[in-house]
């Protein structure tokens, strides 16, 4: 697929340059273009139309372990940059494309709880956000409508508000089984909200339950922003440059951003000028770019007078308990997606010996090959031979996962830095991740794993299998350019504007103050909308390079 018929030449100087065409960048480009701004977006990846996905093909399970793997180091695609993870407990996951990581995300569409905005006030750790849940709630509701969220309203884990625009997706036999266990224990559960269309929504087709959401939706039912935002953005006049790998944000003598230098597909270095620059390249890519933009005037990287660029990386350590049942639960049937979720242990209870909590989600387990992904390194007779058949027959369609999204608290030692030797295919320094789980996180995961085992047992599981910390779980890249009111303790203000560079904005998950214990895409996009609407409203007061 090409950018045609919307292919336009970029203006010499755009009103706004957006770097990254993923969850947050898509929101910004669409809003700005529809409000009359000339907008150029630089995206290192390309289009991935639904016809390219393999979830409806027999080879799906083989290709998901390589071509469509969420870890860029495994995928090693032409648009990917490598990430040094040798000092990290968790691998960061991402996808470079129009739509960014929404192409491969599971579409769990969750809001923060009110307590997530007040962690310091309530629990005495980390920091409060500059605003509260009530401030973001209207943006959540508008984004629900924009992406077409399917769900059931009135969940008692959240304050009252508008319902979902589409009815919930089916929870299936395995969702029902999980709910029965939670009911026996008197624990909270609710049909999972998903940004997957349960009915036709605008141009989007309804879900047909392939269960292959994590490798791109062949049906086009999942709300990836190449489908939900880009058609309108391009129709409104935005210019999208794919295959554009940004290497530096440029600034003038007054310290104002003037644009960005990027390498195009032919290897030619180009400079796109703009009055305002918006970074939307995720919690790793944005921190990398700010550090790549160091100069004599900014020796520690751009917008980094606080010293916090790249620091406080949060990635949501993920634990899982798979339960196996006697009944055929048809647990390969989608969406995937979450069937049900639980917020039972989400809020702090100090008697547990740790603060904060986690959302749980029930997901299908896919086909027979994916179920074997964790069998490496075991004795041959344990995993192969007659046991190969016994394991497949015991688990195929009869197991499902309770996944646990653990809130990790910000820690300046967890960080993104530039790797001294590793580079991408254009010779640009690659990021290195330094990340260790804290003692609080370890206690939190142990507690939640034990409760998830109980949930499976209450539901009648005949056996359970524990993954305490999944290494390939770093979907949520947060916190590396945190927002705040004080320039000494934050990188950007509550509108995403850099304290040090008044025409440079960051609007992706980098600006999160804390991580919450839920999937963050709904918050990333609601927050991006709030930031860009403020920029539009304040356009007459916006400083731009001369």
């Amino acid at each position: 697929m090409t950018d045609l018929p919307f292919k336009r030449s970029a203006p010499e100087v755009a009103d706004v340059l957006v770097i990254g065409a993923g969850a947050s960048g898509s929101v910004a480009v669409k809003e700005l273009a529809e409000n009359g701004f000339s907008v150029v977006c630089l995206e290192q990846g390309d289009w991935t139309p639904p016809s390219t996905f393999v979830g409806d093909k027999p080879e799906w399970e083989l290709q998901r372990q390589k071509t469509w793997h969420p870890n860029p180091n495994v995928r090693s695609g032409p648009s990917d940059y490598p990430v040094d993870t040798s000092d990290s407990d968790v691998n960061p996951l991402m996808y470079s494309a129009v739509g960014g990581s929404t192409i491969l995300y599971a579409a769990h569409w969750c809001r923060f709880a009110p307590s997530d905005f007040r962690v310091r006030s309530l629990d005495g750790v980390a920091d409060d956000w500059p605003f509260d849940y009530a401030e973001l709630q209207p943006y959540y509701e508008r984004m629900d409508r924009a992406v077409g969220t399917s769900g059931l309203g009135d969940d008692p884990a959240y304050p009252p508000g508008a319902g979902f625009p589409l009815p919930p997706l089916p929870i299936g036999k395995f969702g029902r089984k999980a709910a029965e266990g939670m009911d026996k224990l008197g624990w909270h559960w609710w049909p999972g909200p998903n940004s997957i269309a349960s009915r036709t929504h605008g141009d989007r087709s309804p879900c047909v339950r392939y269960g292959a959401c994590l490798t791109g939706c062949p049906q086009g039912a999942k709300a990836s922003t190449d489908l939900t935002h880009w058609p309108q953005a391009l129709a409104a006049g935005a210019v999208l440059v794919t295959g554009a790998r940004v290497k530096e944000i440029t600034v003038d003598a007054k310290g104002l951003a003037t644009g960005a230098v990027y390498v195009d597909r032919t290897g030619v270095e180009r400079h796109q000028k703009a009055g305002v620059v918006i970074l939307a390249a995720n919690g790793v890519g944005t921190a990398r770019l700010l550090q790549l933009s160091r100069s004599q005037a900014h020796p520690d990287g751009l917008a980094n007078s606080s010293g916090l660029v790249g620091k406080r990386l949060m990635m949501h350590p993920y634990g899982a308990v798979v339960g196996t049942y006697e009944d055929d639960l048809e647990s390969w049937i989608g969406p995937s997606g979450q069937a049900i979720q639980s917020m039972q242990f989400y809020e702090t209870d100090e008697s547990r010996g740790f603060v904060r909590g986690a959302k749980w989600n029930v997901m299908p387990t896919g086909g027979p090959l994916g179920m074997r992904a964790g069998y490496g390194g075991r004795p041959v007779k344990e995993s192969w031979g007659a046991n190969f058949h016994r394991n497949v027959k015991a688990n195929m369609g009869r197991s499902f996962e309770w996944g646990i999204i653990a809130e990790d608290l910000p820690d300046e030692a967890n960080r993104v830095v530039l790797d001294p030797t590793l580079t991408d295919s254009d010779g640009i320094a690659a990021p290195k991740i330094v990340y260790k789980s804290s003692e609080n996180t370890s206690k939190l995961i142990d507690f939640h794993i034990a409760r998830a085992v109980e949930a499976h047992e209450a539901a009648g599981a005949v056996s359970t299998s524990i993954t305490r910390l999944m290494r390939d779980c770093g979907w949520h890249l947060l916190g590396t350019a945190r927002m705040g009111d004080d320039a000494a303790t934050s990188v950007v203000d509550q509108w995403g504007r850099a304290h040090d560079v008044p025409n440079l904005y960051v609007i992706d998950g980098s600006i999160f103050v804390t991580s919450s214990g839920v999937n963050p895409t709904a918050t990333i996009m609601a927050l991006a909308l709030r930031c860009v609407e403020h920029l539009i409203a304040e356009r007459r007061n916006q400083a731009v390079a001369g």
């Binding site: 027999p58 083989l62 920091d127 559960w189 047909v208 809020e347 490496g376 031979g385 058949h389 000494a488």
Partner: protein
């Protein structure tokens, strides 16, 4: 998908011996060779995953001259990356065979309409609603971040 370089007849013969150690006839299921893993489905698997061909060939090189069972044990013990490739391509090829899928009750990822099953769980959900709100109220005003 890129077509892989075809395996020779000799390679297929040796590969079939290794594949049958991993997936023998048992529990009412056919062996790898009876399921045509080495003669047919391995080609489809390698078309989907051409990156596995090198590991598969390495495993054949390591197995040459050894009894198949001993070779598989050796590769698993001393060459984990090669064993991963051998195991993935073999299991992946086996599950591509429609007869195997039918025997394990897995139809593949097939389209089916979304059904509304809310009525089927409203009884359980009513209990959740009856217990009332579980979110924690939070103060409107933010506390300042501690200064460094």
């Amino acid at each position: 998908m890129t077509a892989p370089e075809a395996l020779s007849d000799a390679e297929r013969l040796l590969y079939g011996q290794l594949a049958d150690v991993l997936i023998p006839e048992a529990e009412g299921m056919p062996s790898a060779t009876r399921a045509q893993v080495h003669t047919r489905w391995v080609d489809d698997a390698l078309r989907a995953r051409p990156d596995l061909l090198a590991g598969l060939r390495q495993s054949l090189g390591l197995a040459s001259g050894h009894p198949a069972e001993e070779a598989v044990e050796l590769i698993n013990r001393d060459h984990s990356t090669v064993f991963d490739a051998l195991g993935t391509v073999t299991a992946g090829a086996y599950f591509l065979n429609p007869e195997v899928k039918q025997l394990i009750g897995y139809p593949g990822q097939l389209p089916q309409p979304v059904v509304d099953d809310v009525e089927s769980y409203l009884d359980l959900l009513g209990n959740v609603v009856e217990r009332g709100p579980i979110y924690r109220e939070a103060p409107g005003a933010a506390a300042a971040s501690p200064r460094p």
